[in-house]
Amino acid sequence: MPRTSTARARPRSAPAARRRGIRPRPASPAVLRNSLERLRRLSEASGVSGDEGAVRQIVLEAIDGHADEVRVDALGNVLARARTGSRRGVRVMLAAHMDEVGLMVIGVTTEGMLKFDRVGGVDERTLVAKPVLVGHARVPGVIGGAPPHLIDWEDEPSPYKIPALAIDIGARTKEEALERVHPGDAAVFATRFERLGNVLRGKALDDRVGVATLIELVLDPPPGIELLAAFTTQEEVGLRGAAVAAHALDPQAAIVLDCTPANDLPLWDGSENTTYNTRLGFGPAIYVGDRGTLPNPRLIEHLARTAEAAGLPYQYRQPGGGSTDAAAIHLARKGIPSISLSVPGRYLHTPLSMIFFDDWRASVSLVRAALARLRLDDIR
C-alpha cells in the first residue's frame, strides 16, 4: 500500500486484530467467484435512471429467500430487511443505487438515425463511435458522427457534442428504425465486463459495485444490527429513489455504498496532484463532506477506527463537490445520521470505468466489520 497522509491505516498483524475479534474473515473462493460473476451481470445489465428493471431483476433473484422482507416501492426501489436475527440492534439503512447514467432516444430522423439526449452526467467527450444497446431489446447501435477526415474544424468547433451525433442502428428509414426502437427508449454503452488481475473494468461500475456489495451483505449479514437494504433508483438524476426509501425505512443511521471518481493520474507538468478526489489502490474512501452531505462525525470516526483495528486500508474522499444518496437520506424525516463509503473508480460516467478488485474487497470487509460493532452510542 502506498504511503501517504490520506491512507493512514497501517495494516496490523493479523493475530492482534483477530484477538480483538474484528479481523474480517476473508470471503471463501466460492463466494468470491459468485460475487464477481454477479458484478459482471450487474455491470452489463441496462439500467439507465428511471428504467432500472433489469438490474432490479438481478437484485431480486439474488436476495430471494435470503431476506425477511422484500418489497419494491412506488419508485422502483428494492427495500429488504436482512435476516440478522436481531431486532434489538441499531436499525441501519444501507443504500446503493441501481441506476446508471446513459442516453435516451428522443426522436428518429427520416434516414432512420436516432437522435438522443443524456440521462444524468454522461461524459459528452466520450460519446462518438461508441457501441451502444438501445431499449429493453438491447438493439445494437453505434454513436455516429462525421469522420475526422471531413471535419472542417474551423466551421464546426464541436463535432463531438450531442447535437452533431446520432445513434446508428443500421436502419435505412424512419419506419424501419421504429420497428425496433422508440422515442423514450434508454441506451447504454455496450461494454463487456472484464477482470485483468487486480483491475476490474466495465460500464456502470458506478454504482453496480455498490449494489454487488449490498447484495453480499444481505446474503451474509453482520450480526447484532437490523440491516435495512435499499437498492435505489434515480440517483443520477437527483437522488429521488433514496429520498422516499429513507422516509419509508425510517432508520437510526445510514451508510451509502457508492463509487466515486478517482482523478489520480499524474499532473503532466510534474507538480503534485492535490485534487485527485480519491486514488485507486488506497482502499475504500470514507466521506468527510461533499456538496450534499456533511457526514455524521462519529460515523467518520467509526469507519476509520474500524479500518485501523481490522488492518484494512482506507482513504478519505477529498471534501468539496459531488453528492451521493446520503444527501437525500440524511434530511429525511427528523434527520438521519449518515455517511458514504465509496470504491474509487477511474473514468466514471464514460463507456469504461475501472476499479481495483482489492479496493472493492476491502470496502466489503470494512462495511461488514463496521456494522458488526456499531452501537447507538457511536452515532449519538
Binding site: Q252, E272, L294, I336
Partner: protein, 331 residues
Amino acid sequence: MKALIRKLSEAYGPSGREDALRQIVRAELRGLSDYISEDPLGNLHAVIKQKARSGRRIMLAAPMDEVGLQISHVDENGFLRFAPLGPLDPLHCVGARVRFADGRLGVIGLEPRGEASALPTVRQLFVDVGAVDRESSTFKPGEAAVFDRPLAEIDGRLVGKALGGRTAVAVLLETLRHLKRTPHEVQFVFSVQEHVGSRGVRTAAYALEPEVALTLGAAPASDIPRGSPAAIALGRGPVIRAREGFAISDPRIVEWMAGRASEARLPHQLGVFDTSASNPTAVQTSRAGVVTAGLGLPCRYLYTSSEMVDLSDAENAVKLLLSLLASPLPF
C-alpha cells in the same frame, strides 16, 4: 447580552461540527424551557408548551454553525489544501488566521500568481500550519477550521467572526429568558448546518411540526461606501425579510411583524435579498407547509473574519419577538 455574544462568537462551530456551540447553548438554556431535546442531526430544541387555546405552534430558529474550511490534502511540504465549508470567499481568506477543533492554529497563504490583479481561487490557497513535511504532519483530510478572532468593540459596535449568526442565537436566548407570558407553544431551535443550505432547520421543522416559523440570521448590511442606496443599515433595527434568496416570506407574517414593530415604536427595516446561503423554503415546505418568514440582524462584512453588528439591533429584535409572542396571531 454582550458577554453572551462574545462567548458565542468566539466558540468553534463550523457546519457539521457544532458540538462546542451546543454545549454553550445547552448551559444557557438550563431551567428556561419546559423541555430541551437534541435531534439526530444535532439541532437543539427548547420548547415552551402552549398555555392558552388561542395559541399556535411557533418555531423560532437561529443557526449555531459558521463558515469554515475543510482540509482536502496535506501536501509533501505539510501545507494544507482545503475546500470551503459554507460560503467562504477566497477574497477574505488571504492572511486570515484559522483555528481547528483542538485549538491548533494556521494562517491562510496564497500561491504566487502570474495575474496578480485576478481574484484568488480556492485552489490557489493553502493553510500554513508551520509544518515542514507530510510525514510529521498531525493533520488529516476532513478536519475543519474556522476564523480565529476575538470579539472586539469599536465605538459601540461589535466586530468578530461568525458574529451575525451567533448574535441571532443570543437574541433567541434572551427572548426565551425574558418571555413571561405567551399563549403559544414556542419552539426555540438552535440549528446546525444552516450555512450549507438550512439542513438542520429542515429536519427540526419536520420533528416539531410548527404552524408558523421565524428564521433568524444575519442580514447583509449595505450602508458602506458605494453600497446600495436602498441600504440595510446597522443600528436601524432588525430586518423583516420579505424575501431571502428563493424564499418568499408569507405576506401575512411580514405585515404582522412590521405592524407590531410600528405599534411598539421599535425601529425595524424591510429587506429583500436576492441571494442567500440559507434556504428558508426548507421550513416553508416541511410536511403540509409552514407559514414562514425571516428576521435578520443587520451585519456588515458577512462571512469574513470581522463581521460587524450593532448591539441595539439585537436588543430591538428581542423586544420585537417578545411583543410578537405576547398575544394571539392576527391570522
